[in-house]
Amino acid sequence: MMNHKYSQCMVGFGLLWLCASFALAQTTNARRTGSITGRIVTEDGVPASGAQVFYTELGSSRPSPPRNVPAADAEGNFTINNLEARSYRVSASLPGYVTANEDDANRAARLGDYLTLQLVKGGVITGRVLSPRGEPVIGTTIFPYRVRDGAGKATISTSGGRAALSDDRGVYRIYGLFAGAYVVATGPATSFPGSPFLGVAPVFHPANTRDGATEVVVPAGSEVSGIDIRYRYDYGHTVSGKVSGAVTAEGARGSILIRLTPPGSQIMLANASVDPSRGQTGFELTGIADGDYEISALRFDRERGSAWSAPRRVTVRQANVSGLELGLSPMAVITGKVVVEPLAAPNAETCGKSRQAALPATLNEILLTAQIVTKMNSSNSSLPPGFVANMVALAEDGTFSITSLEAGGYRLLTDLPGETWYVKSLALPASKTANAGAFTLSAGEKLSVVVVTVAEGAAQIRGKWSGKANSATGGKQRVHLVPADAAVASDVSRYYEAPIQSDGTFALTHLAPGKYWLIVKVAQPLGEGERLVRPLAWDATARAALRKEAEASAQSVELGACMRLSDYKLK
């Protein structure tokens, strides 16, 4: 029963999660409580009157569903009041529309921020679901699964669009889709018990399992029709077994999610949940067509740490698969703290702000992200979409704990509020000091204590690039700030980069004082399954090349504490 309820609810939540991107246009200093304001526009800059605004606290150990505020007014303006000093994700939703920039979904908004959220018309896929006799198949649910983004790159991110139901003519219509390539399938059925489609293996357009599915390319805002599905009642086989190992945790409640996906994919073809705290360990997945799959199990507990069974291959060939044992082991954890560097000379580097007033709010607004750089588990199907446990906010005392990490190579990213702070140093335990701030977590490793030191007196550069984007490559330009001081040449935290907007503007903030070179480069494409641009300096070879290139570019800047360059002309 939970599955049905969950799935039905998720359909609803799909609406809530239609996120809009935003650009930070202006920031002011943080206060204890305050508001976030902004404006929602559609592609032509027309105010999106009536668009809904949602916000959710980022990095909370007890995430709550997005909360909504009164819809945008006739001018598209909105206000979120009575917010505590924390980091938030703010998103906008207008049925049929999608966010203009998907990769900003995890950008933090903080008190006093003014956001411009842009929405664009989503795409449409329509077609009919027909029986082998050519009769309409009525009342089955069709899901869009996006496999490539608008640039043709493999993606695991959300489709934007919601499922649709075939009507009495067999016709379905899915709308509000991001640009990209999709596979479209009838299932897995989330229908109410009593539906003939429960336990039937999903059928992909045009008439196949996932392997034989034809991709449907949806250009931005376009309608693609005739995407018919030839339906058949294939009850498939069952895949069953039990979970073992770290199935329960002290004080943990809740269940273990078992997911079956095509290899290397996020498409959940079947799922089950078992609740060991109620004596359940066995699971059975039904309606599995012949084919190769990956199965994984996850007990997600952000607070106390999760456990999982990494994806493993299952092959179904004309028979049920039983007796699988999915052994759960704890996931890796990073604990540490953020410390604020004592002031050498009082008031010297506070940029004219009252430090005492800003400090508590600052700590509450800092976000830390454990960004995976190299995956040890080769599969992209490992964790469910939207699994963003790797971003945390600090506790009141500045400590943090990032749980639920899979084994792999990581870097720690710090997202700072306000204007006056910069990351001075990152201290890893002695065993992890090699490789310029990158470190490796083995399965279940508990890494402590990581110390991030932040200091006041950050500089910033805002300005405009006079160059012209090379549209032939389809890439976006980014400005890079490279330390000129050879002593910090291998300190990744001294390398900064930021996107150049379509109007040529850019903003580099939270910069450590010092001398830098500037250079503009085309952004690297996102890695397989990645949602964030990976900084160029993370790779030692690329970093060395970048530094060399930057030095040759002969654009340099000397940044003093609190210096604000507001009209920098970038070549």
């Binding site: 029963m1 939970m2 599955n3 049905h4 309820k5 039905q8 609810c9 359909v11 609803g12 609406l15 809530l16 009536g50 809904q52 949602f54 909504n68 505020v69 009164p70 819809a71 009575n82 049925p95 049929g96 989503g122 449409v124 029986s131 006799r133 009769e135 309409p136 009525i138 009342g139 089955t140 649910t141 919601r162 499922a163 649709a164 139901l165 009507d167 009495d168 219509r173 709308y175 509000g176 229908s191 109410f192 018990p193 009593g194 539906s195 003939p196 429960l198 336990g199 009642y233 039904t286």
Partner: protein
């Protein structure tokens, strides 16, 4: 998504506080409908029985229709078919390998209406008792194409409203609009697409009203305009009924919506401990619109009280509401808390200063007695059997809001104790699958046998309650015989066995559905004299061709038949009950 269904149900059916989504709501309602059904204890695992028949569509063979058997006594979430098959070109189906037991036989044909259909989209079934190895033939189903209603939803300037939620209301046989919208199995159908179009299909014939939007604050996101009925009115009195006939499309059922957002107001409430007056933190507070005087629905938005005990809700339209605080699933070592329901009215300003005085839930304790059993070892064994199968649920007398069943743990000596109950009239139930053969026949409190339900009040212990159970293994096998006619299609017939010495009206007796062949089986009865009441309910909705404004027909009372039988201590007894179909209008037949 957050709406409590407030539906007219027989008083013994629990109303549950549901704030998830429609699917869950419907699931729970069907669950509720199942309460009282008895477990079939016989099951040959191998399964050699077969069920076959024919499915016709408008009198012609219907091919490719899935027919399935699902276990009648399973919870709704476990209602996966034990057997299913598609019909062939002659419309024939055959389900094999069926174990003995009680099942629902049903066609699974969305878009079509079965002759067994009771009220909703493709949820229809016949109960069928299958004996070991039995070959049941000619279990036929008649389908008709469902009706279709289609239209467009626009604002006053003709702009399409995308993803607007629709609500469909039946027009009852008494001519009125049902108070609750139909609960959609497929919520996706009840929504406009990106062109503002909707298409509702698979509808039973009848008369309907269709609306978009909602006045419930629970829906203060999405397309949150006030509820507007076809063709474009906020008044249910001015809503235009739509006739739906089988296989026909009622086109252009458009709705024009004034999307202007009315002014809304905020409400602030404070949760305090009723004893200490100290603010309570982290208590869930939810509010809802008042549906009628003294009756409330907690529809939804909920928030936890902050460190000052405060919660604040925004976006309330003028109207009457109620608010309540509760901690239903407290952390270990902390009590459940419940407040009384506090009504309030929003007129033209923010509502401040509401105080929710919360108390730890009521404690109910006492002793279980098994009637007529004196042997100590036997008593202990029966207590152990009953433990885990006995639950307590209830609903508030003020709000009619119910809560889900909570287990009643029973000690070896028969004593029991339940903590954390909200103020309510409680109902005890025995889950027959876990503890077959137990029937609650008497409740004693304060030394007296009670004639109605037991009330508990949060913050006040209720001690010394005595629950007297009868235990037995006797089985009554019955056959219904119809005289002077047949039952209307879609009639639902069940039998209730009530011991004649049970005077407490809140105790329900033993129920069983009368199956497709007129059979019923009542299991787990103790010796005694019983009155069997057979009741058959007909359809309750207006026909499509009833002229508007015509005097509405009264909902038909159930057809009933009563019979007294004596049940032995063990073994089986057979009974035949005769139902006179001409007794339809006999008011004495009403229960």
């Amino acid at each position: 998504m957050n709406e409590l269904v407030y539906q007219t149900l027989p008083p013994s059916w629990p109303l549950l506080p549901l704030r998830q989504c429609w699917a869950a709501v419907l699931w729970m309602l069907v669950c509720a409908a199942m309460v009282g059904a008895q477990a079939s204890s016989t099951a040959d695992q191998a399964g050699t029985a077969a069920v076959s028949g024919r499915v016709t569509l408008g009198g012609k063979p219907a091919a490719d229709v899935i027919v399935a058997l699902t276990p009648a006594d399973a919870g709704e979430g476990n209602r996966l078919p034990v057997a299913r098959a598609a019909t062939d070109e002659e419309g024939r189906y055959r389900l094999t390998g069926v174990a003995a037991g009680r099942y629902r036989a049903q066609t699974m044909a969305p878009g079509y209406v079965s002759d067994e259909q009771k009220s909703d989209w493709y949820i229809s079934w016949r109960t069928i008792n299958v004996g070991a190895g039995e070959q049941i033939e000619n279990l036929d189903f008649k389908l008709t194409p469902g009706g279709v209603m289609a239209g467009k939803v626009t604002d006053m300037s003709g702009r399409s409203l995308v993803a607007a939620r629709l609500q469909l209301f039946r027009r009852s046989a008494n001519g009125r609009m049902d108070t609750a919208p139909m609960t959609p199995n497929e919520s996706l159908m009840y929504e406009t697409n990106d062109r503002g179009e909707y298409r509702l299909f698979g509808l039973m014939e009848g008369q309907y009203f269709v609306a978009v939007g909602t006045n419930s604050p629970a829906f203060s996101f999405g397309n949150n305009f006030p509820q507007t009925y076809h063709p474009g009115t906020r008044s249910d009195k001015e809503a235009k009924p739509i006739a739906v006939t089988p296989g026909n499309e009622s086109k252009d059922i458009d709705i024009r919506v004034n999307t202007e957002r009315p002014k809304t107001y905020a409400v602030t409430a404070r949760v305090v401990d009723a004893q200490t007056n100290q603010p309570l933190t982290g208590v869930e507070v939810s509010y809802g619109a008042a549906r009628e005087a003294g009756r409330y629905t907690v529809a939804g938005p909920s928030a936890n009280s902050d460190t000052r005990g405060l919660v604040r809700f925004e976006g309330l339209l003028p109207g009457r509401y109620g608010v309540v605080a509760s901690v239903r699933s407290p952390a270990a070592g902390t009590p459940a808390y419940f407040s009384e329901y506090v009504p309030f009215e929003v007129t033209d300003g923010a509502v401040e200063g509401l105080e929710l005085r919360a108390s730890p839930g009521a404690t109910l304790s006492g002793i279980i007695v098994i009637e007529g059993v004196t042997d100590a070892a036997m008593t202990t064994s029966l207590f152990a059997q009953l433990n885990g199968g006995l639950t307590v649920s209830g609903f508030s007398d003020v709000t009619s809001i119910g809560y889900a069943p909570m287990p009643v743990p029973i000690n070896r000596d028969g004593s029991f104790r339940v903590n954390g109950l909200p103020s309510s009239t409680v109902n005890f139930r025995v889950e027959a699958q876990r503890a077959p053969g137990f029937l609650l026949v008497r409740i004693e409190a304060d030394g007296q046998a009670m004639t109605e339900g037991l009330k508990v009040t949060a913050g006040q212990p209720r001690q010394g309650v005595k629950l007297v159970f009868a235990y037995g293994t006797a089985v009554v096998r019955g056959q219904m015989q119809l005289v002077n006619g047949v039952l209307p299609a879609g009639a639902r017939t069940s039998v209730n066995a009530r011991r004649t010495d049970v005077t407490n009206r809140s105790l329900s007796g033993r129920f069983a559905d009368v199956d497709a062949r007129g059979n019923f089986v009542l299991e787990g009865l103790a010796a005694g004299e019983y009155e069997l009441t057979l009741s058959s309910y007909g359809p309750r909705f207006a026909t499509p061709n009833a002229p508007p404004g015509a005097p509405p027909p009264q909902p038909a009372p159930p057809l009933t038949a009563k019979q007294k039988i004596t049940v032995p201590a063990a073994g089986e007894v057979s009974v035949t009950m005769t139902l006179d179909v001409t007794a339809q209008t006999n008011p004495a037949g009403r229960q």
